[in-house]
Every structure is written in structure tokens, then in C-alpha cells.
């Protein structure tokens, strides 16, 4: 049984923690294996079609705000997740040493890439290009800061253990937006409310997989009960390591991490920040008890200071 006020650490059953009775559906999620992602963006389109999301930015070149028009960020003209973009495919182009040269750990960002060749130099054989693609999505954290800070109860934990914005409740206070350690949720311009991936809550209810996972041609996006996905991910990681892909690593899989494990986790081929993901996210509410204690102390100081000011005679 979860402690009812759990704010961080492993959480076996987030739905139970949110009041769902025993027998609720298992916690479901996504395992996104970026090693087989071909960057086709079917997930982005299928998501927008299903959820009837507006396009953000067609024909608008370089206006302020989110990324519009050609970004120059490789083939990523989406930029990031947002209020009308629940799936975002990142494209990272890297120059790396040719595979036939001595193996290097490509994952460590702390050094220059060995063998890097300056543009203009002859790069025949010396290096090759690596093009990483990864479909990002809301992580549906076990400890979801967006949910916990939401003052209206618009953001809830569902029976599937996912995190959902209730459109009929949200009043657009915007608190969830900076609370998210991944920068997922955002306010839709012209609407005012906050939106993010729902894991296709309506489809889940009908026994369907979310639109993105349904479309994904190469099974880079897998949907299912989280326990099964974690097993599958572990097996895939071992397989890749066996094949010499030492840079493969899982991200968000660990229930001991700062958010209690993600409901949507990833197999990455480089450090998370390369893909625009925080390397070690922590749910902000982990520190909330301490924050309240400090605030109480400070409030007492205010009360004390005001009271003390009235001590003594009047002038």
C-alpha cells in the first residue's frame, strides 16, 4: 500500500494512490526505442489527427513564439512538445568517428568527440554521420508535478495510471507548465487552457492503443502495461549491448529516479540532454514539505515581526 501522501520515490501503483479501488486496470505506458526510430513522424500526425489538434505554424515564417516555418534543426520543424503537439520527433545530426576506427564511448559529453574533423577538411573515411531520431512524449510520471500543483483538479491520475488534463476543468492558471521537469505541458494560444498527451484516454477506454503507437511503422513506440514494457526494454538493452551498441541506455525506466519512474520511457543512444531531455529530473514536489516548513517559518517571522513592532510605548 502506498503512503497516501507520497510525493517522491518508488510508487508501485499510482492509480491506487489517487483513490482508484483495487481491480483498476494496470498502469500502462510507452516504451520508445529510439534505436529503431526512422523519424517518419507518423506518431506526430496520427496524434494530431486523432486528437483534432491544430497545426501550429504552417505558412508563418519566423513569427515570435514557438517554432514556425523551417527551423534549421535538421528535419525537426516541430521544435518541441507543446499544447498542440503531444508527440515530437527530435533529429540530432552528429559527426562521429567512422565505425571501423577504435571504439569510443559516444555517450560521454564531457570531451570533444575523438577524431572530429573540422568542416572543410577532407573527411573521407575519418568520420561518419550519425543521425539520431527520437519521438518524445509526456512521461506520465509516477510523481507528476503538473498534476500535484494543479489547483483545480483539472490534472488527474487516471485509472490507467496516466496523467490527464480535464479540458472542462482547466482554467488556464498555467501552474502545471513550469512545474513539469520535462517541459511537456503548455498553454494553447487563443484557447488559454493547458494541453498535453492524454495517452489517448478515450481510446484506452475502448481497449485501443494510443494513436501514435498504433501508427508507428517500426514499433519504435510500444504501448502496453508498464511492467511488460520494462521487461521488454531490459531485454532490448541487453541485446544492443551484446551487439556492441554500448551507448544504448534506458531513460525514465527506473522507479527509483527523481520522478518515481516514467510511464513513458525511452531507449536512447546518447545522453538525454542531446535529445532535449533533462539528465536527472526531479519532481519539484519532492521538496514540498520542506518548502511548506520554510514558508511557515517565514510566516511566523512575519507575524512575530508585526507583533514585536507593537511592543513598547508609543512615541
Amino acid at each position: 500500500m502506498n503512503p497516501v501522501n507520497s510525493l517522491s520515490g518508488p510508487l508501485a501503483d499510482p492509480a491506487a494512490d489517487a483513490g482508484y479501488a483495487a481491480g483498476h486496470p494496470p498502469r500502462v505506458g510507452f516504451f520508445t526505442d529510439t534505436s529503431v526510430c526512422i523519424g517518419c513522424k507518423a506518431c506526430e500526425v496520427a496524434c494530431k489527427e486523432w486528437n483534432a489538434l491544430p497545426a501550429d505554424g504552417v505558412g508563418d515564417h519566423g513569427a515570435a513564439g514557438d517554432v514556425l516555418g523551417l527551423t534549421g534543426m535538421s528535419y525537426d520543424n516541430t521544435g518541441g512538445l507543446g499544447a498542440s503537439t503531444y508527440r515530437h520527433v527530435a533529429f540530432v545530426e552528429q559527426r562521429v568517428p567512422a565505425r571501423d576506427s577504435a571504439p569510443v564511448d559516444l555517450g560521454m559529453p564531457s570531451t570533444d568527440l575523438p577524431g572530429a574533423v573540422q568542416p572543410g577538411a577532407d573527411r573521407e573515411d575519418a568520420t561518419e554521420v550519425r543521425w539520431l531520431m527520437s519521438s518524445d512524449v509526456c512521461k506520465h510520471c509516477a510523481h507528476a508535478a503538473c498534476l500535484d500543483v494543479c489547483p483545480t483538479g483539472s490534472l488527474i491520475r487516471t485509472e490507467h495510471g496516466t496523467v490527464l488534463v480535464q479540458e472542462d476543468i482547466c482554467n488556464g492558471c498555467g501552474y502545471c507548465i513550469p512545474a513539469c521537469p520535462y517541459g511537456v505541458i503548455d498553454q494553447r494560444q487563443g484557447d488559454g487552457r493547458a494541453f498535453k498527451c492524454t495517452m489517448c484516454q478515450d481510446r484506452l477506454g475502448a481497449g485501443l492503443a494510443p494513436a501514435c503507437a498504433t501508427a508507428c511503422p517500426t514499433e519504435s513506440i510500444r504501448f502496453g502495461p508498464l511492467d511488460e514494457l520494462r521487461e521488454r526494454a531490459d531485454a532490448r538493452l541487453a541485446e544492443l549491448h551484446d551487439r556492441g551498441v554500448g551507448e544504448a541506455r534506458l531513460y525514465g525506466r527506473d522507479p527509483d529516479d527523481g520522478v518515481g519512474g516514467d510511464g513513458a520511457f525511452f531507449l536512447l543512444l546518447d545522453e538525454p540532454e542531446v535529445y532535449g531531455l533533462p539528465p536527472d529530473p526531479v519532481v519539484t514536489t519532492r521538496d514540498l514539505p520542506s518548502m511548506w516548513r520554510h514558508a511557515a517559518g517565514a510566516a511566523l517571522a512575519v507575524a512575530g515581526a508585526v507583533a514585536a513592532a507593537f511592543l513598547g510605548g508609543r512615541r
Binding site: 526512422i38 523519424g39 513522424k41 500526425v45 504552417v58 545530426e93 554521420v129 543521425w131 517500426t218
Partner: protein, 843 residues
């Protein structure tokens, strides 16, 4: 493949997961390269040198599948003494006529043939220059067994000729021509050889990167030669897979809306003084193999079209068919349009104003029409060229001056009509109508049915003999309440019926006596048992991998063509791992429909007077070929050589490192003011267009954009025309990432945002660095995201066999900043042409 066929690519990823090696050969580093085990950057337009290098490697290291080559290919066949190779003639084969720019192919034949060579050559009424237009469906008719040497040691045998032909395609030459390092080349060769043979197979997949060349057909031929040598044809996991780009582009060639073909790859008849049906059959059919039954196919087609009017007495209305006199292909036609010779034009679900090479010429053609019918989902550029075409902006055309009358008829979407698409693996799949089309939107089936109905009504009482074909045309299709004709009934007509009006089971049931009809013999069987077989939808999960009960593949629902070759000459599988079709003692067995007469045993030797299907020996898997074998050397059927030879593209920055002959000598060129070509490499003006560009597609758009530029969710993903250049080229030309640049050719200049990417890699050619620019294909002035069309840049020069244009390799210049606008563009281009020495030459 990951770029343009992502869902098909799932099977490549599946294979990779199971240990397959995936190699991607492409001038550009694409999404496919990103997940391939090896990306091999290649100079655009040099694939035959690369494939030739592999053929050289396979022959010189003895890595070919000898038993397969001996039994199933024409490797042992002896060639005529007077055949001369490119080795002897510095890049030409024997028989070239420099005046007509075409080959007499007689010397390419096998030795010991009693009949003289191919159909066209016997057909004295057909002019030499028209022969390229004869598709040669059946290949060379062979009356007797040619001479052969089964040891394959005779210097005149095909295998030895092939070895000599590819002798100079060494890894070092491949490096020089293609820019592929020797070490990389060896990795490819090793992977290919290691994964071919009895136990393993390799497949080649290609798309328009191989076909859009002046030697496009020979690209595919080169892969065929290589795969035949390695024993990778007719076997599971083998083959050469065309990844076609449109839902029914395969169907569009099977039931062709192509000038030179009748349904089922039957050639259109040529102009003749006195050709009757029998001589047409004799000239075009084979004596052996399934082309030997051409008479049954043609008669059944004529019966399907002209019904009771087609009788043995009137040659089944064979004379109702119009006759060709040469090239009537799209490009030829457009040039005729531009000269005002073609008043009427139907454009149906196509967008040549931006989608076809030398788009400016296309629009000039459109502007000279009297009337134009455009049918499409969206208001495409072909319908609006008179309003917002680039020539309006440059002042070359004025709307008021354009006399073209235009009917834009909105079309129904695939969800709004019944019908079949034939996919890239020859699979016919029925799509059911889900909703009524809105407003005036109608299916193209409705349009043509209605057009035909009204035309027939108008000529019903005519006694003009010209109208007879129209009067005789069968045109009775049931219609539903909305007037929509039944696609099901049309499919049934395509399948064909017997004398009692029952649907035929397959093409072997077709008769030449007029008792059967079939609108397309290769599709015969799609309505077998009076069931629309294309609409079968037994879930894949309930079937084996071939899924024979999903849709229907022509011919006869075979999923792997020539699958007889998956067994050895004795009918045993080459290996247990790779078994597919085998002789079980009584018949050919296995999960697939055997591509072979099912009860002909492996040891069957046809009697000398046997013809057609009966003439196929029990160990001759290539049943459509007149000798039953895969052709390493093509004795007929090709206009530009019996063996693939490396030629440079029409426009390339360097000369041919192998031969004196630079480009395909038989290629089709159009020396016209509106179709200027760049100077040859080495001439003074060549430096004006120093770089290579190659056109490409991205996943987010579809071809010229007619179906993708109006969809918000696709356009936001690729919102602007861009140009891919390497950092090295960006530095050389001062291009800024994210800024504007324009690409210039003698035809036009187009602009786009610069994407400087290390995926683009300059290649070495000797001491020269070759820069290649990637130009995506999808934009035009209309839609949600707009931009210049790549086709503005391209000139028209064609493959001589199939009249397809070269879009994948040409030369250009690139400059920072946007292109000049308005009339300035015209002067700008003319200035560049003058610098290149083209303007005086042309005008």
C-alpha cells in the same frame, strides 16, 4: 526506403532485428542511412559503375552461384562471332548507328539461331527510329535451342563475355567514378557474397533513384545480372524490389494508361501497310513460354472491348486499334503541345505544371492548348498556371493572352469510391467506398463512364467509319442510384468471362478463337469463382507470411515470381532454410502458387515442335522468357545495349573514366531552345554549372505535393522548400544555414532555405571534389506551404527504352540569396547561359 516507404520499411527493420545486414547506397544520407548498418555515399548517376564493380568482384572471385548460373541463366549460351563489346568499341556495342542514335541489335543475338533476331527487325514496315517504341514484351523469339557451353569456359559464352565486359570495373575504378572508398566497397561486396548462395539470399530494393536516369533501365538490369549471378531471384528473401511511389502505379502499367502498351504489357500496334492480327501476333509473341499465347490474350482483350462486334471474320476488330508511329510519350506530347499541335488535354490526378521535368516547358504546353480538363482533389498548379504560374510573374505569359479553356472537375477521394489499387508487389487490393463524395466530386470511373456514354450516344447514328470503334465499344456497366458505375463489374470484365459468361479462373483458360474475353490477361483470375478475389481480407495474423488470402496478386495470386528457381534443376529446394516451391514427385508444391506449369516434372524435355507453355522445359524457371532463363546478356528487348555499361548522366561534372563514350549513346535528347542542356564536362562553359544536384523526396510529403501540400499536419512538419548542402560547399559558396540560396541551371533558378548538413558529404573524384546538392521535389505555388518546384531546374533527356527522364543527376550552380524575381529572372538566366556559351548555340 525509410523515407518514402516507412511502413514497408518495417520489414527491413524486422530483418535487421533478426540479424540481416542493411546497406544503404545513396548520394544522400537519409533516414534510411540512419538505421542502416552501412551507408555508402555515391556520386549521383554512377550506380552502374558500382554494380558493375560488384559483378566484377563476384565473377573474379568465383563467388557466383555456379549451379544456378549454369542451369537458370543464359551464362552458357554462346554469342555470335560478330558481337562486339564496349571493350572493343570504347563504350559502344556493335550495331550502333550514329546517325539515328540507335542500335541494330542483331549482333547481340545468340549464335546458332535459325530465325533472325527480334520482332522489330523482321518488321520491315516499322522504321528504325521507331523500334525503341516497341516494348518487346516477349523478348527474343527463339525458334531453336541456341548453341551453348555448359562448362561456361568458351570465350564466346555469355559468362565469359560478361567477365570481359566488367574486367575494368575494379574497386579502384569504382572509387574513382563513384567516390566510394575501396574499403567500403569491399565491405559491401563481402556482405553481399556472404549472404548469397544456397543457404542465404540478399535482396535489392530500389525506387526512382535508379529509374530516373538516361540509363535507368540498365540500372535495373545491372542489379538483375548481379542477382542472377548470386542465385537471388525466384527465391525467398531475394529479388530486386521496385519501391513504387503511388498507390496504383503498378496497376497503371499493368492496365496501362501508357501510349505504347495495351493491358497486360501487350505492345500497341505500329503503323503498317498491311498488318493483320496474325502478323501482329507473330511479330510480337514468342514461340516458347507464356508469351507464346499472345494470340489468346489479344483476342480476349478485343472481345472484352468490342464484344459481339469482334469476330474472327473481322480480325476481332484489330483494325479498330489506333497505330503508333514512334514516340508519343508524355514529353514528346508536351513539346507538340508547346508547338500548338495538340488542342485537347486531360490531366487526371496528375500535376505536370510542377510535377514533371522542365516544368516551364510543361506550362508552355498547357498555355497552347485549346481546352484542358483537370480532375483533382485540390486546386493544383496545372489548373491555375494561367493565373499564378511563374511565367505570369516573369512576364513571359499574360493571363489574357492564354487561350486555354479549362474545366476543373473535382474528384472523389479513395474513401468515396470502390476500386482496386495494385501495390508495388503486384497485389491487387480492393478499397471499399466509405462515404459519398461531396458536391460535384465524382470518381474518375464515373467521369469516363459518363464521357463514354455521352460520346457513344452522340455518334450512335453516325455512318462515319471513324466512329465505328466507338459504336462497337462495349460500355454497359450497372450504375447505382447516384449514377456511379459498378467498379466490381469493371473488374469482372478485366478478369474476363468464357463463352457462357462465367468468370474465368485464370489466363491459361484464355482462347484465341473468340470464345473468351479478358480486359487484361495478367489480371485474369482476380474474379475467379465469381468472387472479387482482390477484396479478400483474411487477417494476416491468421495466415502464413505470404498471406495468400489477402487480396490477389497477379499472375494467379503468385507472391514470388519465378519461384521454380527456389528449387534446384531436379526440383529439390536449394536448401531447407530457403525452400519455397519444390517438386513433390507429382506436382510443384509449397506455400506459394508455383510460377510454373504445376504438373510439369523437373526432367520434362519439350518436344522440338512444342510451343508456348508446352515448350517450357522442366528445369527452366523463367517462364516468361523465350529461353526460360534469366538473362545476364540480353540478346533483345533493349535499345541501349545487351549488358549494363557505365555512362555518365546527360549532365555531369566529369567525363567517363571508363570509355571514350561519355553518356548513353542511345539516350533521347531534345535539342530545343526551351530545353537547353549544359555544356559537356571539360568544355569552357561547364564551369558555369559546376555542381551536381539530385532530387529527392521526404517522408512528410508526397511527390509533387498534390496530396500533401493541402494537409496542415504534413505541412507543419516540412513547411518550406529547402536545399541540402555540405558545410564544405556552404563555405565555398558563402551559404548560411537557415538563409536563402538559389540553384541555377540553364532551364531556371529556384530558391530555398539552406540546410547546411554534415549528412551531405563531398566526394572525391581524383583530385577533384564533387559537391552534391539535395533538392526536394514537393513544392509549388499552391497549397498551405509553397515554394519553388525542383522540376523547374531539370531538362528533358530520356532513357531510350522507356522514355523516362533523368531527374536524379544533373549539374547546376548554387548562389546565396533569393533568386531574381519578375522579368529579371529571365535576363539572369540568359546571362548565365551566355556565360556558358549556350545562348548563341541555341538561338
Amino acid at each position: 526506403m525509410a523515407e518514402a516507404h516507412p511502413v514497408g520499411f518495417q520489414w527491413v527493420m524486422e530483418a535487421k532485428r533478426r540479424g540481416a545486414t542493411v546497406i544503404h547506397v545513396d548520394p544522400r544520407f537519409t533516414r534510411t542511412s540512419a538505421v542502416a548498418d552501412l551507408h555508402v555515399p555515391i556520386r549521383a548517376g554512377t550506380d552502374i559503375a558500382f554494380l558493375g564493380g560488384l559483378i566484377h568482384h563476384v565473377l573474379e572471385t568465383g563467388a557466383y552461384f555456379e549451379e544456378y548460373v549454369r542451369a537458370y541463366t543464359n551464362g552458357p549460351m554462346l554469342l555470335r562471332e560478330d558481337f562486339a563489346d564496349t571493350e572493343d568499341l570504347d563504350g559502344l556495342f556493335s550495331g550502333f548507328d550514329p546517325e539515328t542514335g540507335s542500335y541494330d541489335t542483331e549482333t547481340w543475338q545468340y549464335a546458332g539461331m535459325t530465325a533472325t533476331s527480334s520482332a522489330g527487325d523482321r518488321d520491315l514496315d516499322v522504321h528504325e527510329a521507331e523500334r525503341g517504341q516497341m516494348p518487346g514484351s516477349g523478348g527474343a523469339p527463339i525458334a531453336t535451342d541456341p548453341d551453348r557451353d555448359d562448362t561456361m569456359q568458351d570465350p564466346r559464352c555469355v559468362l565469359q563475355v560478361l567477365r570481359r565486359h566488367y574486367a575494368r570495373y575494379t574497386p579502384e575504378k569504382v572509387h574513382e567514378i563513384c567516390g566510394i572508398p575501396v574499403e567500403t566497397f569491399r565491405r559491401v561486396a563481402d556482405a553481399l557474397v556472404e549472404n548469397s548462395g544456397r543457404e542465404r539470399t540478399s535482396a535489392f530494393a530500389y525506387a526512382v533513384g535508379w529509374t530516373h536516369h538516361t540509363v535507368g533501365v540498365q540500372y535495373i538490369r545491372a542489379a538483375s545480372v548481379l542477382q542472377a549471378l548470386l542465385g537471388n531471384i525466384g527465391r525467398p528473401g531475394g529479388g530486386i524490389l521496385a519501391l513504387r511511389g503511388h498507390a496504383s502505379i503498378q496497376g497503371s502499367t499493368d492496365i496501362p494508361t501508357l501510349f505504347d502498351l495495351l493491358p497486360g504489357y501487350i505492345p500497341m500496334p505500329h503503323a503498317h501497310r498491311d498488318q493483320d492480327l496474325a502478323t501482329f501476333i507473330e511479330a510480337n509473341g514468342g514461340t516458347k513460354g507464356f508469351w507464346g499465347d499472345l494470340d489468346a490474350y489479344v483476342v480476349s482483350l478485343l472481345k472484352a472491348w468490342f464484344g459481339d462486334a469482334a469476330t474472327p471474320e473481322n480480325d476481332f476488330c484489330f483494325d479498330h486499334l489506333p497505330r503508333l508511329t514512334g514516340d508519343h510519350s508524355s514529353f514528346r506530347t508536351v513539346m507538340d503541345q508547346a508547338e500548338g499541335k495538340v488542342p485537347g488535354y486531360f490531366v487526371i490526378g496528375e500535376n505536370p505544371a510542377v510535377g514533371t521535368a522542365n516544368a516551364r516547358m510543361q506550362r508552355h504546353g498547357l498555355a497552347q492548348l485549346e481546352w484542358l480538363v483537370v480532375r483533382d482533389l485540390n486546386m493544383i498548379e496545372t489548373a491555375t498556371f494561367w493565373k499564378n504560374g511563374p511565367e505570369i510573374a516573369t512576364g513571359e505569359m499574360r493571363t489574357e493572352d492564354i487561350g486555354t479553356e479549362i474545366f476543373f472537375l473535382p474528384a472523389a477521394a479513395h474513401t468515396e469510391k470502390d476500386g482496386t489499387f495494385t501495390n508495388t508487389q503486384r497485389l491487387l487490393q480492393w478499397h471499399h467506398k466509405a462515404a459519398e463524395p461531396p458536391g460535384d466530386c465524382r470518381s474518375d470511373l464515373w467521369f469516363y463512364y459518363e464521357l463514354g456514354r455521352r460520346l457513344k450516344a452522340r455518334v450512335a447514328g453516325s455512318d462515319d467509319p471513324r466512329d465505328r470503334p466507338l459504336q462497337d465499344l462495349t460500355w454497359d456497366y450497372p450504375v447505382d442510384g447516384t449514377g456511379e458505375p459498378s467498379a466490381d463489374a469493371v473488374l469482372r470484365e478485366i478478369n474476363g468471362v468464357d463463352g457462357e459468361g462465367k468468370a474465368l479462373p485464370g489466363y491459361t483458360a484464355l482462347k484465341a478463337d473468340g470464345s473468351t474475353s479478358s480486359g487484361c490477361w495478367i489480371y485474369c483470375g482476380v474474379y475467379a469463382d465469381e468472387v472479387n478475389q482482390s477484396a479478400r481480407r483474411r487477417p494476416g495474423a491468421e495466415q502464413d507470411l505470404l498471406a495468400p488470402e489477402w487480396g490477389w496478386a497477379w499472375p494467379m495470386n503468385r507472391r514470388v515470381l519465378y519461384n521454380r528457381a527456389s528449387a534446384d534443376p531436379d526440383g529439390r529446394p536449394w536448401s531447407e532454410r530457403k525452400k519455397l516451391t519444390w517438386w513433390d514427385g507429382e506436382r510443384w508444391a509449397g506455400p506459394d502458387v508455383p510460377d510454373f506449369p504445376v504438373d510439369v516434372p523437373p526432367d520434362y524435355v519439350p518436344p522440338r515442335d512444342a510451343r508456348a507453355a508446352k515448350a517450357i522445359g522442366g528445369a527452366e524457371p523463367f517462364v516468361m522468357q523465350s529461353d526460360g532463363r534469366a538473362w545476364l546478356h540480353a540478346p533483345a528487348g533493349l535499345a541501349d545495349g545487351p549488358m549494363p555499361t557505365h555512362y555518365e548522366p546527360e549532365e555531369s561534372p566529369v567525363g567517363n573514366a571508363l570509355y571514350g563514350q561519355r553518356a548513353n549513346p542511345a539516350r533521347q535528347r531534345f535539342e530545343r531552345a526551351d530545353n537547353p542542356y549544359h555544356p559537356e564536362p571539360g568544355t569552357p562553359g561547364a564551369a558555369v554549372y559546376p555542381y551536381v544536384f539530385t532530387t529527392f523526396r521526404v517522408t512528410e510529403h508526397h511527390t509533387a505535393g498534390g496530396m500533401s501540400r493541402w494537409t496542415p499536419h504534413l505541412n507543419e512538419l516540412q513547411p518550406e522548400m529547402f536545399l541540402e548542402v555540405s558545410p564544405e560547399l556552404a563555405a565555398e559558396r558563402g551559404l548560411t544555414h537557415g538563409g536563402w540560396a538559389h540553384v541555377v541551371t540553364a532551364r531556371s533558378a529556384i530558391e530555398g532555405r539552406v540546410l547546411v548538413t554534415e549528412r551531405a558529404k563531398p566526394l572525391r573524384h581524383g583530385d577533384r571534389v564533387i559537391h552534391q546538392i539535395g533538392v526536394p521535389w514537393h513544392w509549388g505555388p499552391n497549397g498551405l506551404s509553397t515554394g519553388d518546384a525542383a522540376n523547374e531546374l531539370l531538362g528533358v533527356s530520356l532513357d531510350p527504352n522507356v522514355h523516362i527522364m533523368e531527374t536524379k543527376a544533373a549539374t547546376c550552380d548554387i548562389r546565396p540569396g533569393r533568386r531574381p524575381r519578375g522579368p529579371e529572372l529571365v535576363t539572369y538566366l540568359a546571362d548565365r547561359r551566355r556565360q556558358a556559351g549556350l545562348e548563341e548555340e541555341q538561338r
